[in-house]
Amino acid sequence: MTAQAESAVAGPSPEGPATAASTRGLRKTYGRTVAVEHVDLDVPEGAVLGMLGPNGSGKTTTIRMLLGLVQPTDGDVQLLGHPMPDRAAEALPDVGALVEGPGFHPFLSGRENLLRLAAAEPRLTSGRIPAAVDEALERVGLTRAGGRRYRGYSLGMKQRLGLAAALLVPRRLVMLDEPTNGLDPAGTREIRSVIADLHRDGVTVLVSSHLLAEVEATCTHVAVMNEGTLVAQGDLTELLESESPALEVSTTDSAAAVTALRAAHLSARPTPDGVRAELTRATAPDVVATLVDAGVPVYEARRSRTGLEDLFARLTQDSEEAPTWRS
């Protein structure tokens, strides 16, 4: 299993950039059920890491162990350079988190809920608390609703309040577990823009999601989990590029195109609107030149986006639970 994780391109390298969070040999069992096993995760500093995986693949358990909420059965966890959960007091003040949905008291207003959480923030002096709460509310667009009882909040408002709680103080690392759950497209865009802001400010972000499009749109890195193990991780672009690169060519004469490419010892197959050429043994210009030389009309040529979707499907094909797709 470890071999599988390390076989992924851009695996952890000892000389690589500093990690904001990492695990080694992480394992968690509940009775006989193995929730997480052999997870060697690295969250590079400054990255936006999307943690992907079907429901029940161990994403949330891994995040809870990273935060010291759950005691690992085995293995080590480092969070901002501190071993967890023993040194939680050093690491956690710089970490903001939204785990397993927002948890707030229904009879208190959103603002009062945040005040209560802010009271526990070591980085906030008592005098700073009200201002910090107001800033956090403003950041997630809840300034006007802050005085209302949490009971009356919509799902999206609840989620945004949870995000506000994670952002009460400037953090070095923010972990968001399914932050767009229950959000409408506008809400999802807002979360993306918050993540983008954090990234611009140099904050490391770990987002777990089962929504591939979301991860693809916002993340610099991905980690894919399946059935409790980490099946791939690394830089998003590198991961995608490593997936059998191909060139999609639009042409009216796909038969001729295939013949021409195969004649040049390039593997190719016809597609509905043209031909798909593998780039394992040739570069994109080689392919286009071959086709033009053979007199095949080329309307358009583009790198095929294998896409996260394909990658994910391949990595998790054994999983019974199909991930939810959304474009």
Binding site: A89, E100, P102, F107, R116, A120, E121, P122, R123, S126
Partner: protein, 289 residues
Amino acid sequence: MEVMTEPARRTAPVSRLVRAELRWIFRRPRTLAVLGLLGVIPVIMGIALAVADPTGSSSPGEGPGAGEGGGLLATAAGSVLVLPIAALTMTLRMLLPLAAAMAGADALAGETATGTLRGWLLAPVSRGRLLLVKALGVATFTLVAATMIAVTGAVTALVLNGADTLYTLSGTTLSIPDALGRIALAVGWVTLQLWAVGAVALAISAFTEHPMVVLASVLGGIIVFTVLGSLDALSWLHPVLLTEAWWAIVDVLRDPIPDADLIGGALKAACYLVIGLSIAYARLVSKDG
């Protein structure tokens, strides 16, 4: 000391956490409803006794005043001192322990259920501190609950009987400071008993995320203890039962105060407090948040 060497503070001050906890407890509608209910009980008792006018009825051992607590109620009708203590005695049988259990249930099980406990654990608040803050919250609530009963009881009795009826079960009449001192002693002693109940409730609360389980366990425990306490065949067990100490509260109405049972009851409560808090602590530090 560690804090001194750290450039940035690693943990929020306990006083701030306690203040936040108290604000949360006393903002909760349920808390206010329970306190209101407890505050009304002595008023109802006082008015009912005044309307029923038990003076002249019943000699000892017969008539409506007979039986457990009946004598106390009969006396409560006429004495400013006795009504608050009688109200405490009655509510200590069931309502006050349930109120303490409710506070303990909400403190951990309730907060786990709403997912709000995690917020503090991530701040981070260490689990030991969390228990300390939670225990102080429960302790404050129970103190307020007991005080509420004593205050409304004393005020009701003052309105109904006037200030010159500060007499004890031994027939002596007390000065106002002495009477207030005794009421304070009763409130303190009852609160200590409630802390014991609250500590046990916190321990149960640390094991579950269903507040009702805590309430049901404490209610069941009180009933079982009361039944065991009423069985003479189990008299060897009685000194261990918390509920068996609770009648000693009546001793503050005797003059001079016989202190043996009060001290014994306080020590017993302290033992339950230690057991409850240590189990709660052990469970809380090893529990997944």
